[in-house]
């Protein structure tokens, strides 16, 4: 296999407690720590391991977003990706648009395997990989917790509601990864220096002539209904009494 494409989305760091703006116009992202979507880090780690085993020759990271997403692409390069592509867009692009952009790059760069996160932790959509598989006409293996390549096929263990499921797909394919697939490496300082010299191509989304599809409009945002802090009991007897009172024990 030659080339693996990995999607890296810039999102609010998973440790940040996100708050809805008072005017309901969105969530507060000013001055908030931004990171690579955690699932995408796992996807990149897997791609790098495949390359290190000699089963691929190039790992390319791609992000669709504003110029700030270059930070996450640079981190990806420091982890070990060979080159990066920023598809520059001021507006946030919905999953179908992202999938169509990825398809465009797949055709241009002759990609053999696409590794994405199973979901982006901002919009929690979990759509992009499945949509890409649909428009590319290639197999999808979502929620992967284990991946074995064997020539022209891949065996993928998927985390599903009933437990685990193993499927075999022909390559090229789209695989979306779950957190248990691997543990991503830490970036070392010398790698950050080296990453500055690696190629980062910037393409304006308008130049790709992509139809983003019918758009879903975000009308408003609100904080979720809060649960109220309840009572504290002193001991197990108190707990049993409280459960009995509610008819739960």
């Amino acid at each position: 296999m030659e080339k693996i494409l990995v999607g890296l989305k810039r999102v609010v760091d998973y440790n940040v407690r996100v708050r809805v703006r008072n005017d309901g116009s969105g969530v507060e992202t000013d001055g908030v720590k931004m990171s690579i979507n955690p699932f995408d880090e796992i996807a990149l780690e897997e791609a790098l391991r495949i390359k290190e085993r000699g089963e691929a020759s190039e790992v390319i990271v791609i992000s669709v977003g504003g110029v700030d997403a270059q930070q996450q692409l640079r981190t990806g390069l420091a982890m070990g990706a060979d080159r990066a592509i920023l598809v520059d867009s001021d507006d946030s692009v919905e999953p179908l648009g992202v999938a169509r952009i990825f398809k465009n790059i797949i055709d241009r760069d002759e990609i053999d395997l696409v590794l994405l996160g199973k979901q982006a932790i901002d919009d929690d959509n979990s759509q992009t990989g499945q949509m890409l598989a649909a428009i590319w006409g290639r197999p999808q293996a979502t929620f992967a917790s284990k991946l074995d390549l064997d020539g022209d096929t891949a065996k993928v263990t998927r985390e599903v509601d009933a437990g685990l499921e193993i499927i075999e797909v022909d390559l090229p394919a789209v695989i979306t990864v779950d957190l248990r697939l691997n543990e991503a490496r830490y970036v070392k300082l010398p790698d950050i220096m080296k990453a500055k010299k690696k190629p980062l191509e910037v393409i304006a989304v308008a130049d790709l002539g992509i139809d983003p599809g019918p758009q879903i409009k975000e009308l408003s945002f609100e904080a979720p209904a809060e649960r109220e802090r309840g009572v504290m009991v002193d001991d197990v007897a108190g707990l049993v009494a409280a459960l009995k009172e509610k008819g739960l024990a």
Partner: protein
Amino acid sequence: MSKILIIAEHDGSTLNPGTAKTVTCAASIEGAEIDIVVLASAAAAVAAQASSLELVTRVLTVERAENEHPIAALLAPQIAAIASGYSHVFGPSTTFGKDLMPHVAALLGVNQISDIMNAESSHTFKRPIYAGNAVATVEAPGDSIVVGTVRIASYAAAKGGNAAAIESIDVAVDIPPHTRLIEVLSGASDRPDLQTAAKVVAGGRALGSEDNFNLIYKLADKLGAGIGASRAAVDAGYVPNELQVGQTGKIIAPDLYIAIGISGAIQHLTGIKDAGTIVAINKDEESPIFEVADIGLVADLFTAVPELTDSLD
């Protein structure tokens, strides 16, 4: 008027309860006419169960050998072909629906509304984002088909007692040969299913080992409860992945949820927000789990849990 097609989730013999909850969501849209489609190698048993659900007009069956197992890339082209007569296509927001529905949406050339928690109207929906830290109200364009997954923890199951017409249909589309099921490894369990159990007892990292999880099982047995776990407990190998509750596990809404040795990370809490009563047992009174617990006990689980189990006779 909205014509809504719901994709049945099943294992070849039993309709998954998520389907009945998806029906409830669809029925909340004014003037909805609801059909369910069962794609299977042999559909009769599942179709009969689907036909009994209230508010369903028709059950369509598509029988093909390739539909023996639910593989998204194989089912999606068939669904896309049937979808043309409908204004909406819905599936449950289970791993089945999450895998399948976006593939269908892309074949139909639209974005998907994921995790519908409320239908405000036929084209306006509420859905959680940022691990449930915010709720967005979104509007799908009025002139294209709406594809969505339904957050099943937000809906009660539609009742039975109906006898909707069952109709077998042929769908003449090619099915790609590029994906093959090798094996399903599901932990068979005679305990109540996590996603539908009225009571759930869940353990976290603090349990410390697979053996110690027996404390959780014993308490669950006393209560007739299902078992859940935090991601940390699953990662450590104490329990299998299908027991994980949270943003990347199962979103559940039992009447009673007992969290034992679980800190209450935001990714975990998003899975239990809709529980009736949350009980927390944790030795650290500062644990965030206590901010959402209805009943909290600060205690060492290794003494408190056996004591609790013993007092529930």
